[in-house]
């Protein structure tokens, strides 16, 4: 069954604002948590990952936060742009079985 899940299925954001997409997980033994982006009609694309012994990791305009106390991770997108409109998935890597487990996805819509 699904061990990572997203809090909200949809998110509407004003262009230029910051977006926060949340995800909860149940497996404390996971090695990594990962975020993917899927644009309409395309396959998912890797955004960023974070190892379970870290609290924060930054990329280009994105930051992932990991709160192990409440088993929660979030993806923050700075200065959201129209090209950020997509479905975002969180996923976990248990570290031993060559597989990722994906959550259901949050659809982000950017309003002009």
């Amino acid at each position: 069954g699904e061990s990572v899940g997203l809090h909200l299925p949809t998110l509407s954001v004003q262009e230029g604002d910051n977006s926060i997409i949340n995800c909860a997980y149940s497996n404390s033994a996971s090695d990594y948590f990962i975020w993917y982006k899927q644009e309409s009609g395309k396959g998912p694309q890797f955004i960023i990952d974070i190892r379970s012994n870290m609290d924060k990791r930054q990329g280009q305009r994105v930051t992932v936060l990991l709160n192990k106390t409440v088993k929660h991770l979030s993806l923050q997108i700075a200065a959201t742009q129209p090209g950020d409109s997509a479905v975002y998935f969180c996923a976990e890597n248990k570290g031993y079985d060559y597989k990722l487990s994906f959550g259901a996805g949050t659809t982000v819509t950017v309003r002009a």
Binding site: G43, D49, F89, L100
Partner: protein
Amino acid sequence: NAGVTQTPKFRVLKTGQSMTLLCAQDMNHEYMYWYRQDPGMGLRLIHYSVGEGTTAKGEVPDGYNVSRLKKQNFLLGLESAAPSQTSVYFCASSPQGSSYNEQFFGPGTRLTVL
């Protein structure tokens, strides 16, 4: 490099028919995966392979078979298609030696079973 390609892009089958979906990658990746994506359910792993000649079951393997005879190709077969197999199918690959967090996905195959 073409990356990960999938053939065909669309297909309509009748219940009971069989078909094979082809995935090809030109990145010399060791690991390859087949997922299905249904509305509201994210990506579910069907089968995967950690090297040429090896395959393993994922989360939802029933009704599907796979083969990895060549490193660059990963085939997904439906022996007797059912309406429940209507879905979008994605193939992905990742290199050995990495944490395999970054998987490279193909454009998908939209399959409808009537």
